[in-house]
Structure formats: structure tokens, C-alpha cells
Symmetry: none
Subunit: 650 residues, 2 copies
DNA sequence: ATACGTCCAACGTTCATGTGC
DNA sequence: CGCACATGAACGTTGGACGTA
């Protein structure tokens, strides 16, 4: 086993030959550690009773009090046989794996004797590596490189479609096909369609380079609500600096570097440049080269000039499902990954039935104070403006975001000189709001074997003759009536419809729910973060994609209310999402990655999402720790999947 | 370290056929091995050359000469139906359990044809999994995730104990100590008190041996509601066999084998018996011997005759906290298990203030159809009977249990001949019920620095002079009024107080909440399991002890409503818990371990818990389990503890 | 004993950031 | 400045050790 080759063993177990041998090799410094292994063993056991390990305050990272044998930094455990810090471990791994050989630049008597400590360890690679080897780091413990964890996306879709095809066939056998239109198109055709346009994604299209501090999604109507974060330090509390809201990767997508910088594909790999020193670099170059070739050879990827009109490259329609089959969609989402695959595929490959008749999502309290664009042709954007509206005005919106909790626990991370002697109260939040899209009124249909069980009962009467995916909704203005309840349709049932309780500005809401005591600008209210921090669990978040992420959840549920979205709508939605992100980020001082994912959900083709889901499962990448967390708890698989992530497709 | 054993193994097999084969394949890596191991290898190889199975010297690991059918490494026996190594077995388990799907990165003709052997098995997970399946590994043999082991739970408690001192110190500096009574007893004194009576628990006291199929907690008043599971096969569905509800361990506690079987402590360890074949057994024997010695030498552990009167050995009082500081307790619970340990300590070591005036927990719908013993002297039991009552009657109880979800996902696992061709509907549940103990009406107090912020505002007027842990509640009959709301006190606010909506027997609950369409006997209703299966998330479970386990959570919250419990109450509570367990187990066909833990919580004294901690404390105090748990989680410590712990105090 | 399980140290990758050219 | 590469903190994975029925 590779692992077994750890030097560790030698040092620890034999106490004799090998350790002595190694110690003999480096007699100069080994005095402090020739006793080292055995004595250190004793020492460590002794230390166990004291402060053997110290935890980083800001993260789950554990650092031991044992110093790195190379640089005397805090080690994070044994690496390659010795106690070493992460940096030295990584350095050793990279050096060994790439077969690097460094040369000390020092001359004279100080040659090869550079000081290697925490602050100087990067000064001389040669001496650092020498020190690593001298301290006994085991080359053989460096394993071979493994494959990438997630792959380049679109290519692999077609590979796995056959499997999904069988899966879907089981469903399609249950479907009562009328009008000859298969509501579940076979994956073979889907694969063909996908492969036809593969790697030709126009969504990786450039925009105008803009100020990074402003909303990159062109002129937002919400800009008037932007808090001048940099201009006005009027807030009473000194706040940590706002992190960048958009990652470099996303910024490269929406606002890429100058397009003609694609290097010409190298005809020969060995001529790739002067700094290729080994094979591995060549392999990487090969991959890059392949990518470049693909992008070049893709039939429909011209060199797109910079433009603000990103939407011209978006798909012309983005059909969403029939709300009368909302229960079936819920089932698909609840069933985990493979079903959401079908969901996404159906979502993309079906023709929109409700062609130009776009549902307008009506919110209970639909006086949009923000949106100037709640036009009926853009229901997605309307949903999002209502989302922001709710976020601003409504007292009972479930206000959970993990970053907020993280914020209140880590908020003084960057500012050690603040007074944080008193612990922040962690206050649970009792939420009263419910998402109607996950209400359950279909318990009785569990025994029926056809897809009719998934029909929304309130709408099934006038839709029984239509195909599940080609319905004509009876009323287009209310797309979600999850409870089968008559009355005003609600996108997000944030409150009792009549609002019998006035919104108390104080905190003693008799409903017990979190009230937003601020106005429409909740940015600098510290109570929000403190309050939301107590909500450890997402309250009524459906077990779907975007679970655990409230705002993404709201987003995805608002998507369910949309029948179509046009490119313009996608852009506007991104704008809205960015606005939400900025508001939240102003509170939490984090990047609010969930909303980045929400944008990516919009800006990514379903094929891309599909490929990612195939590879990673429906989880946020940064949330997989939760599944690890749940791995230790007693939850079952489905729960772990749902609770652990179920995040955005990308 | 332990890992070194792997290397040893590889080397000592090198002379064999398989090793030669492997060495031929990857000569590069084997050549680079240190020469120091070669001698060892020769030696061991000679030793074990002709044995079919060999055991590593350093561990009990046994490797066979049969190669892994997947990667040709040495197998350690059959895993999931085929001979496989540990790595492939674990990989298969993880992949199946997490429902992963991988995509081979290879292109062209070599796609999905990656070499899978010992050294390359980690290069392509897709091909590895494919190979696993091809070789016949059985997906169905992968079981569900189990809960954390008891030892893990103990260690976590130990870790949290170490932290709680600091945590509590931060609070105690803020506490205005009046009457000279430190409301936070130092852990040193607590430890001393615990160690004084350590392992002398009279609670490990025998009972009458009873039928295992009946409730071992004597005659339950709920027995009339028991479904004659074995006698009446009247249920339409053939159900899988009910697992044993009580582990052998627990049964030994409550109903032990004949008591005088305590063996005399062996004076010499080397004479321990004939079946000690190695050191490991001797070590275990040493531990056992030590235990026996301790039990014998404990001053107050007489040989207790079998008796039904277990309660005579229970503590006479079981004081619970002041409800006026309920918010503080909530905070403690929200902060994770470290705080809940304080909870336990405070809970036990404080004198009951409300001495004989036991609070009666009144439930909103308090017409107990089950309990014949809702006497005022047993509030704990009353809480539990109301729990059962709610479980039976109430439509809006958050009905989540991981085992239920697990059941519906795999319910036909053991019975292949059932028809399960149609997929089970997974139906999300929209829950309306809220746990009042985690309601938040204390947002405004986040900036106050004293413990007064934790005071329940509705009760704080007449309690401001009392110590946080020694209050005199103003009204004893309503212990929890979490919202600061006047009106009927609610233990678990399962419904709107006035019940404006009649409980609809159908499924079209306008509230969108899960209704129990069955009567008071929900045992054989398949819709319950199906419906509850959709509830992936515990709705409003506080992030406390027993998080993720609804019923335990309800239990622990009901504890908050109890000021005292008498031995009789503990027994009756165990009865009630068992009843709940049986009902749930009838649905889920699992053992419902969470409720076993709940009983242990009752039957174990805080001294026992503490003694275990102290006993193991120095050993585990600085271990890295928590770090590993937290290492991958972006959550802060408290959250991770709360989310990952979810266990009973023991 | 076998074959499930969990646990966790020590591997791995990923990617924002830093640094030198 | 941009580019290319190195760095290391933060997660994810693996498999040997050990618990349990
Ligand atoms: Zn170092
Ligand atoms: Zn140097
Ligand atoms: Zn194998
Ligand atoms: Zn492959």
C-alpha cells in the first residue's frame, strides 16, 4: 500500500534500525530529534493532557501544537511520515510528484544552508526540499496523481444517458400518452440533441468588462438601492471588508478576458514552451490544448465580440413544467439525483406548450417596492423582484442562510482588535412561513400506479386530457396552488393572507417568527445576522435541489412558477440575484456562494448542469462537508443527500 | 503507526505469486522502495509463505491469498458478495450509499476501459465502480448508515466537556451572582462529586425477567393500545418482521442475567483463562477486571435482588431548570453538546427549588386519550403521555424520523418477492407545527451583555432577583411560554391554540400540513411511512442533543417542561418511550435507536455520564475526532456539534 | 468467523491568493 | 499591468483499524 510506505511507521515502530539509520544520516540537526522519535512519542503523550491540539478559531481546521519539523509552523498532523504543516506537505508533494530539483541560490559558505522557518520557507526551495528529506519525509508516500474529481462537463453526458434512458423508460411505460407526444423524450434523442451542440455553449460569451465593484449585470433597476458600501462609512459598526461577490471563474464567464487570447493549438507538445520541465506539465498542456482545440473546432463558437447583450446567446426559451404536475416534479426532486436528472432533461428538451402566455406570479403582498420591471412578459424576473420584495418587507420569511450562521460565529475573524468578549447569542428562529410548493396534499395517491397520482388535484379536472407535459393551464396567473386551496394564489406563502397581525417593528412578534425590524434596507442591521445565526436548521426547506439554502430555495421555487423565460429574463434575473447577493453579503460579509450558484443555474445550460450532477451528485460542492457531517450522524442516505447538499446543479 | 502495517503486509507477501504479478506490472514503484524493508520482507515472507491466510503482526487484520476480484490486491474476505480488498469494499460502499455516479475521463477507444489494479485503482473511479459491479458486488448488501457508535458519542461528550468549562466561564463572568450561590458549579467540584460515586450506579439494577416481547417496563397503562403485532395478522400488508426493540445490552441492564455471576477479580492477569490466546484479549480482560474491581470496591453497590421496583434506586429528584430562563437554556442547547453537558450538570447538581410543587405541563389539546396517569406528581410522564397523545391525534406534529425515510427507501430490501414495481411516492411534508422552545422572541437582547437577556420576558418581572439557576417561577403550571405570549401554555405548540381549522380527516389540509388520517392506532398505515419519508428534514428540531431525531427531540424538549421527576416518573417515562418506540418500530421495522438513547438518558445518572467522561477524559480530551468531524465542515464548532452529535448523553 | 458497520489519519484535489517575471 | 506558476487553506477520498451482530 502506498500509505504503508509512510516513514512514520519506521520511526514509530521499530525504534531501531531505520530510525537510527536516518538519524545517522543527518547528524547535524538530529540531536534535537534523534531522541526525537521515541522521546517525542513520550512527549506527545505527555502533551495530550495539556494543549495537544489547538483549533483554529475560524474554521474546523485543526492545528497541533507539535511544530512542523521542517519549518516549525504549526503542524496539522503527520504528512509523509513526519509532522509537518500543510504548506510543507504540499510543497513536498508537488516537488516529488513533478520530480523537481531546485538549486540553492545562496553562494559561499551559506550555500544550501538557508534558514527554513515559517516566514522564510519560501525563500529557497532547494533548502526547503532538502530539509523535508532530511527530516524524513518519505518520497514513496507520495502517491500518483489521481483523476480529476469533476470532469469537464458536457462531454460525459452522452455516456451516461443510456442508463438514464432505462430509468426513464420505467416511467414512460406508466405514462398515458395522448396526442402521440411522449412527455418523456427518450434520452437517446436527448443525447443526440445534446451532443449536437456540445461544447458549443454560447453562454461562455463575453461581456463588456466592467467595474468589478458594480453589478456586472448591466444597468440594474435595483441600483438605486445599492448601499454605497465604500463611499459611506456612516454605519455605526465597523464592518469587515466585503468580500468579492463574484468569483474569478464566474467573472471570467460573464466578463472574460479578451477573447482572442486563445493560444493557437500547439502542433507539437514538446514545443510548448520553455518552462515545461517535465511530463506532467506536458500532460496538462495536452489537456489545455485539447480544450482549445475543441473550442476552436466547435461549429458554432465564433469569436464573440464583447457585448453587453449576453442574452443573445442564451436559449430562446426555457420551458418549465406544467404546474398541474407539480407533485410529480416534487417527487422527482425528492427522489434525489437521478430523478432530478430527468427533471432537468425534460425541462430543457421539451417544447414550451404555453407559448407566449407567460404566467405572472402573484405574490401575496405584491406591492413591489423595488421592481420597475414586473412586466408580464418576464415572469422569472417578476418572481425575483417579488422575492426581493419579500425579503425586504415581509416579517415571516424564513431567513436562513448558512453564511449568516457562519458569519456570526466567525465575524471577528478578520478583526482581532474588536471587542468580542461577550459571546454572540445564538437564537433559534421559529419560522412560520411555509413554502407552498412542498405542501403535501397527495398522500392518498400513493397507491395509484399511474402518473395521474401526481396531478395536482385542484387542477386535474380540466387537464385530464392533456399530456403531462403539454397542458393548457386553466388559469395562467396563478401557477402554484399547492394546497389545492382556493383563494389568492401565493408564490411564497409568507404570511397569513389577511395579515391579521400587523408587522410589529419590535422583536416580540406574537407569531414567534423573525421579523425584520429594518426598512427596505436591511443591510446594516446586526440583529439580522445575529438572529439568523441561530437558525441552525433550514426550517421548511423542501428536500430538493438548493435545500439548505433558503434563497436558492426560494429561487428554485420561483422557477417552478415560471412557464417560460426569455433571455432577457435570465439576464434580469441575474441582476436580481446579484442584488440579493449584495444585500446579504453586506450583512454577512461573505460571498453568498449560494446565489452565485443560483446565477449559474440560470446561465448554465441544462446539459452542463446535467453533467455536473452526474459527476458530483446534486450537491453544492462547498456543502459536501455537511454530508460528511451527516455521515457521522445517524441519518439515512436519502436524508443525508437531501440534508447534505442537494445544492445547485452547478 | 497503524498504517505501517499495510506496508508490512505488502512486503511480506512479495515473494508470493500475486505479489510477483503485481511487481511485474508496476516495477517502478516497487523498485523505489527503501531497502530497509527488504529484510523485513524476506523474513516475513518466509514465515507465512505457505499459509493460506496470514495475520498481520501489528493488528488483527487478516488478509487472504485470494486476490481482490476488482483490483487484484489482497482481499480480506468476501465483501458484498465477492472477494475484495478493504479499499474496494469501502469504495463500493461509499459509492452505493452516496448514490454516486462517476464518469470516466478517458476518451476515445480507451473510454471506460481504464486499468483497475492496486496502483491504478484510484485513477478512475468510474471504471473502478464499473468493475465492482461487473465482478458481482451486490448493491443490496450495502446497508444503511448507522448511527454513531456509543464510544463516539462518549468521546464527543468528553470533548465538549473540556470545552464547556471555557464556554461557561465566559458566561459566569457575566453572571451577577446573588445569594453567593454559583449557578455554574465548577467542573472540578462536579468531577469530584462524580468520581466519589463513580461506577457505583445503582441504576444498573436488575428487574424481574420478563417477556421480551412485552414492554419490559412493567405494566404500562398504554398496553391497552398495543397492537397485537404477533397475534393478529389482520393487516392487509405483509410486513417485515419486527426487529428487537431492545438491545441485548440494554436488556442486560434492565433485566440482567442472574446477578451473582460477577466473577471474582483475577489476582493475576496471566491466569485469566484458557481462551486467552493473545495480548489483545489480555488487555480486554484487564479492562474487564478493572471494571469488576471498581464495581466491587464501590461503597454503595450492594448486590441488589431482583425487583420490579427499579425506581427505588433512582434519584429522588430530578430537578430541571427555571423556565424563566428558558431562553438561556435554549441558547445552551443551541450551542451544542458542550452546553448540554452543562445542562446535565446543572440539572442534576442543583437543589430543586420548586420542591414538591410539580409543574403540570398542559398541552393545547390535553385530552389524553391514552394516559391514565396524568397526575400532577409526574410531569415527565405527563409530558410523554401528551407526546404520545399528540403523536396519535394531532395532525400537525412534525413527523420525522430518519428510520422512516430509510424504511420507505429500502423497505422491500429484505423481501424480494413483494411487488414493488411501482415507485413509492416521496411526498414532501409541509409542516406547520413549531416547537416553542426554539421560538425567537429575543432578538432584541442580542446586545445586552448580562444574563438578563436570557430571561423570558413575560416572566422576568418577578424573577429578576433570583439566580439564573435557582429561580422561583411565578406560575408553576405553565412552564413554557416561549413566545412570551399569554394564553394557554403549550408544551408543544402543535396547532393554533384555538384550533380554528378542524382537523380534516382527508389529506387536503388547507394548512398544507401532514395529517394523520388514521385513528389513534397509526401502526399499520402505510401512508404514514410514505408521507414521513418525504420529510427529509426535521422541521423545527432544535440544534440540540438529539437533533435529527425528532422523537428524542420532543423528549428532550418535554424535559424542559418538567421541574422534577421522581423515580416513578422515570420508570413511567421509560414505559412511555418504549410505547412510542414500539409504535414507530411497527411502522419502520427498525429498532428506533434514538428512543433507546432516550431511555438511557433517563436511566443514566449524570454522575455516570460524568464518570465516564472523567474516566476517559484524559484519554480523549484532546483527540481529533471532533476535528475530523469539523475539519470538513464549514460550520462553526457549535453547529457541527449540534448537527453531528445528535446522540444521547451517553 | 464472517461480514456488515463506523472511525479517522493521511492521503488526495481545488482554487483564491501570492509572487516573480 | 498580465501571465504563469507556486502556495497553502479548505475540502474530499481512501483504506486500515476496530466495533458489532
Ligand atoms: Zn512546515
Ligand atoms: Zn538555500
Ligand atoms: Zn480491490
Ligand atoms: Zn475510466
Amino acid at each position: 500500500m502506498d500509505r504503508s510506505s509512510g516513514q512514520t511507521l519506521n520511526h514509530h515502530y521499530d525504534g531501531g534500525t531505520i530510525a537510527n539509520m536516518i538519524d545517522c544520516t543527518d547528524s547535524s540537526t538530529s540531536e534535537s530529534r534523534s531522541t526525537s522519535d521515541d522521546q517525542q512519542h513520550q512527549h506527545q503523550h505527555h502533551q495530550h493532557h495539556h494543549h495537544h491540539q489547538s483549533q483554529n478559531l475560524n474554521s474546523g481546521r485543526i492545528l497541533l501544537n507539535i511544530p512542523c519539523k521542517v519549518c516549525a509552523d504549526y503542524s496539522s498532523g503527520k504528512h509523509y511520515g513526519v509532522f509537518a504543516c500543510d504548506g510543507c506537505a504540499g510543497f513536498f508533494k508537488r516537488s516529488i510528484r513533478r520530480n523537481r530539483s531546485y538549486v540553492c541560490k545562496a553562494r559561499g559558505s551559506s550555500a544550501n544552508r538557508c534558514l527554513v522557518d515559517k516566514t522564510h520557507r519560501n525563500q529557497c526551495r532547494a533548502c526547503r526540499l532538502k530539509r523535508c528529506l532530511k527530516e524524513g519525509m518519505n518520497k514513496d508516500a507520495v502517491q500518483e496523481e489521481r483523476g480529476p474529481r469533476n470532469s469537464t462537463l458536457r462531454r460525459q453526458v452522452a455516456i451516461n444517458l443510456a442508463q438514464s434512458n432505462r430509468h426513464l423508460a420505467a416511467y414512460s411505460s406508466l405514462v398515458d400518452l395522448n396526442s402521440g407526444l411522449n412527455p418523456y423524450p427518450s434520452f437517446a434523442s436527448a443525447a443526440a440533441a445534446a451532443s449536437a451542440t456540445t461544447t458549443a455553449s454560447p453562454y461562455i460569451s463575453p461581456l463588456h468588462p466592467q467595474m468589478t465593484l458594480f453589478n456586472p449585470f448591466t444597468s440594474s433597476p435595483y441600483r438605486s438601492y445599492e448601499s454605497p458600501a465604500s463611499s459611506s462609512p456612516s454605519s455605526s459598526l465597523m464592518q469587515p471588508p466585503l468580500p468579492p461577490l463574484i468569483s474569478n471563474k464566474e467573472m471570467n464567464v460573464i466578463n472574460p478576458p479578451p477573447p482572442p487570447t486563445l493560444p493557437p493549438p500547439s502542433p507539437s507538445l514538446n514545443q510548448n514552451g520553455s518552462n515545461n520541465t517535465n511530463d506532467k506539465t506536458n500532460v496538462n498542456k495536452l489537456k489545455e490544448n485539447d480544450e482549445i482545440l475543441k473550442m476552436r473546432s466547435s461549429p458554432s463558437s465564433p469569436i464573440i465580440p464583447r457585448s453587453n447583450n449576453m442574452h443573445q446567446f442564451l436559449p430562446t426559451s426555457f420551458p418549465i413544467f406544467d404546474p398541474s404536475y407539480i407533485n410529480y416534479y416534487k417527487h422527482l426532486f425528492a427522489n434525489g439525483k437521478e430523478s432530478s436528472l430527468n427533471f432537468l432533461l425534460n425541462l430543457y428538451h421539451q417544447k414550451p406548450i404555453i407559448d407566449h402566455q407567460v404566467a405572472t406570479t402573484s405574490v401575496a403582498t405584491s406591492t413591489s417596492t423595488i421592481s420597475s420591471s414586473s412586466s408580464s412578459t418576464n415572469s422569472m424576473h417578476s418572481a425575483h423582484s417579488s422575492l426581493i420584495n419579500s425579503l425586504n418587507n415581509h416579517p415571516t420569511i424564513p431567513f436562513y442562510h448558512p453564511a449568516i450562521a457562519a458569519y456570526s460565529n466567525r465575524n471577528h475573524h478578520h478583526h482581532h482588535n474588536h471587542n468580542h468578549s461577550q459571546p454572540k447569542p445564538i437564537i433559534p428562529i421559529n419560522e412560520k412561513s411555509h413554502n407552498p410548493t412542498i405542501s403535501s396534499n397527495h398522500l392518498s395517491s400513493s397507491t395509484s400506479s399511474s402518473l395521474d397520482q401526481w396531478k395536482n388535484e385542484s387542477n386535474s379536472s380540466n387537464r385530464s386530457s392533456s399530456s403531462p407535459c403539454s397542458p393548457t393551464p386553466s388559469r395562467t396567473s396563478s401557477t402554484i396552488s399547492a394546497n389545492g386551496q382556493d383563494g389568492p394564489p401565493q408564490l411564497i406563502s409568507l404570511s397569513p393572507p389577511s395579515q391579521s397581525q400587523p408587522i410589529a417593528p419590535t422583536l416580540t412578534n406574537p407569531f414567534g417568527s423573525l421579523s425584520h425590524p429594518f426598512g427596505p434596507f436591511p443591510i446594516n442591521s446586526p440583529t439580522v445576522a445575529a438572529a439568523a445565526a441561530g437558525s441552525m436548521f433550514p426550517a421548511h426547506v423542501p428536500p430538493s435541489l438548493f435545500a439548505n439554502h433558503l434563497l436558492s430555495s426560494i429561487f428554485i421555487n420561483s422557477v417552478l412558477a415560471v412557464h417560460r423565460i426569455k433571455p432577457n429574463g435570465i439576464q434580469r434575473s441575474c441582476r436580481a440575484i446579484y442584488d440579493i447577493q449584495r444585500r446579504l453579503a453586506a450583512i454577512t460579509r461573505t460571498r453568498e456562494l449560494a446565489l452565485v450558484y443560483a446565477r449559474q443555474y440560470l446561465l448554465t445550460t441544462p446539459e452542463e448542469i446535467l453533467a455536473t450532477i452526474i459527476e458530483r451528485g446534486p450537491q453544492f460542492q462547498f456543502l459536501t462537508e455537511q454530508s460528511t457531517l451527516l455521515h457521522h450522524s445517524g441519518l439515512a442516505i436519502g436524508n443525508a443527500c437531501a440534508a447534505g447538499g442537494c445544492g445547485s446543479g452547478l
